[in-house]
């Protein structure tokens, strides 16, 4: 471990150099980044890494336990499990990114509006978030996904349509403290409109915590989407989506423990990666918090 002194802000260092330095010295950040990079690469290079097809059945090799040829075994239809998990990474990424974009778009604009205008607008928006909080998330997500008709795309919509509430609360709180600052007053004094102040002056100032939260939100989104697929409301077989694979493997649990075990491990690793990365990013983006954490 390096000491505290060489990671505190250096003279002449820009903010982002400082962020990079702090991330660099954080072991969990490195692990998180590594997991996310591996996921990205394996999703991109899936056909290069494995020669098997994720969907094509091979009935000669049904339920083969992990061997040299099939490191994680095969499922009921003789499909290589490792291949399916690698291709499943594509869905995980797609879900993580898609959901976060939807949540961010809704949550940030509502939060900005609520925090900036205050008054009745704020009350209405915050009551709306209370409503979203008062229905258990999976209950609402599965209802929406189910009524839309299942499939990966609808899962992204369903999860995205619900998780924005946390963005709204986060952004509103940040805006409340930012809008009292002198540069906002200055912008108003030179005659900027409300929209311009919100987007050009306040938004850049609150973007850091939003990004850090997004890494955590992507992890949560992957968990929820997997749960929906597991319940049969998301990706449908033979899609190699991890939650759907788990649901599939459950039926063969007695004979083949590996089918229901490895996709779960994959979900866990990826979510852990996003959690590590998000936590480290949050600490690195906020030097004050970083110091506080080191001291405690």
């Amino acid at each position: 471990m390096t000491t505290q002194a060489d990671r505190s802000p250096q003279l002449g260092e820009t903010y982002f150099e400082g962020v990079f330095h702090r991330m660099h010295g954080d072991r969990t950040a490195l692990i998180g980044t590594a997991i996310i990079l591996i996921l990205l690469l394996s999703a991109l290079l899936a056909p290069v890494i494995t020669t098997y097809d994720p969907v094509k059945q091979n009935l000669n090799e049904m339920l083969s336990s992990p061997t040299f040829k099939h490191p994680l075994g095969t499922d009921r239809y003789g499909r290589d499990l490792l291949t399916r998990i690698i291709y499943g990474g594509r869905y995980a990424l797609m879900i993580g990114v898609g959901v976060v974009i939807i949540q961010m778009a809704i949550g940030v604009s509502l939060g900005l509006t609520a925090g900036y205008y205050g008054g009745i607008v704020e009350s209405i928006i915050m009551r709306l978030t209370d409503v979203m909080l008062s229905i258990p998330s999976i209950v609402l997500a599965m209802t929406i996904a189910g009524f839309l008709g299942g499939g990966v795309q609808n899962v992204i919509i369903a999860v995205g349509a619900i998780g924005w509430r946390d963005y709204t609360r986060l952004v509103r709180a940040e805006v409340l403290s930012t809008k009292e600052r002198t540069f906002v007053e200055a912008a108003r004094a030179v005659g900027c409109g409300h929209l311009r102040i919100m987007i050009c002056h306040i938004l850049p100032h609150i973007v850091a915590p939003v990004i850090a939260y997004s890494a955590l939100a992507a992890g949560v989104a992957i968990l929820w989407a997997a749960a929906l697929s597991f319940l049969g409301l998301g990706a449908q077989p033979p899609t190699p989506e991890w939650g759907a694979m788990l649901a599939d493997g459950r039926e063969d649990m007695r004979e083949a423990w590996w089918i229901a075990t490895f996709p779960g491990l994959a979900i866990m690793l990826v979510v852990l990666g996003f959690n590590f990365f998000g936590d480290a990013l949050r600490n690195a983006l906020d030097p004050k918090m970083y110091k506080a954490k080191r001291i405690s």
Binding site: R127, L128, D130, V131, L133, S134, I135, P136, S137, I138, V139, L140, M142, T143, I144, G146, F147, L148, G149, G219, L223, A226, A227, F230, L231, G232, L233, G243, L246, R250, M253, R254, W257, A260, T261, P263, G264, I267, M268, V271, L272, N275, S296
Partner: protein, 313 residues
Amino acid sequence: MLKYVLRRLLVLIPVLFLVTILISSLIYFSPGDPVRVMLGLRAQEEAVVTIRAELGLDKPYYIRYLNWLSNAARGNLGRSLQRNEKVMDLIRERLPATLEMTLFAVLIALVVAIPVGIISATHADTFIDNILSFFSLFWVSMPGFWIAIVAVLLLSMHWGIFPISGRGGPLWTAKGLHYLALPGLILGIRQVAIISRLIRVSMLEILNEDYIRTARSKGLAEWKVVCKHALRNAMIPTVTIFGVQLPELMSLGVIIETVFAWPGTGRMLVDAVLKRDYTLVQGIVLVYALLVILMSLLVDLLYGYIDPRIKRE
């Protein structure tokens, strides 16, 4: 105190109102003609018309909402479209099982999380603390349904300690408890992982406060300092996070119920969504929302009890 309770209740009314709008709109926003989706392609025209009239889908939206609301307020949630039974009866039949599991999980969460959090805080940055941190981080990252599957595989199928699935009877019977133990534990331990971390953080902050130093310097036993002076203050943020986590606990409950074939409302909801039983789905979602609102009210009251400053505001 009464004033405080009333004020909390008043805040809940607009939320409840919006929740009912959202729930009653669920059918409205589902794509396609829900009645045709429900009855299938070869449905007879009269049947379509009858069901549509029964659901009130031939009326304008606001009339539908008002009808639904006035019926729901009188405890009439309509008939299930697939089972031909009253939604209220179906829910009444299943709700005890769900409440039982939730209550069990909440108890586990509190009974385990508080000591674990205290131990982590008083032994901060030692081996024990690191092990507990590591465990909770992993546990939070694991999908709940996967933990359930692996637990069934090992504990039920392999070693035969717990039954594989189903409910054995009411909570207070030995058989009921035996069936409840595994799903209840899995549901509860996830909350332990989250809540114990939070107790740790707030305890660490509080243990550095001046009044703790005062308590120590006047010669109080360490356990008294920790459990009486520090814990009560650490409970304030804990109760808050507990209120936030309750809906999440019920979310996971739905999934756990499905894995363990637990005869509760969660599993019935999954079934109803898959079969597009719109009235049943509406009814169950409403019950879940009411439960969460009721529990958040309880949490608020608890909050007022733990921190007397809040009541006086």
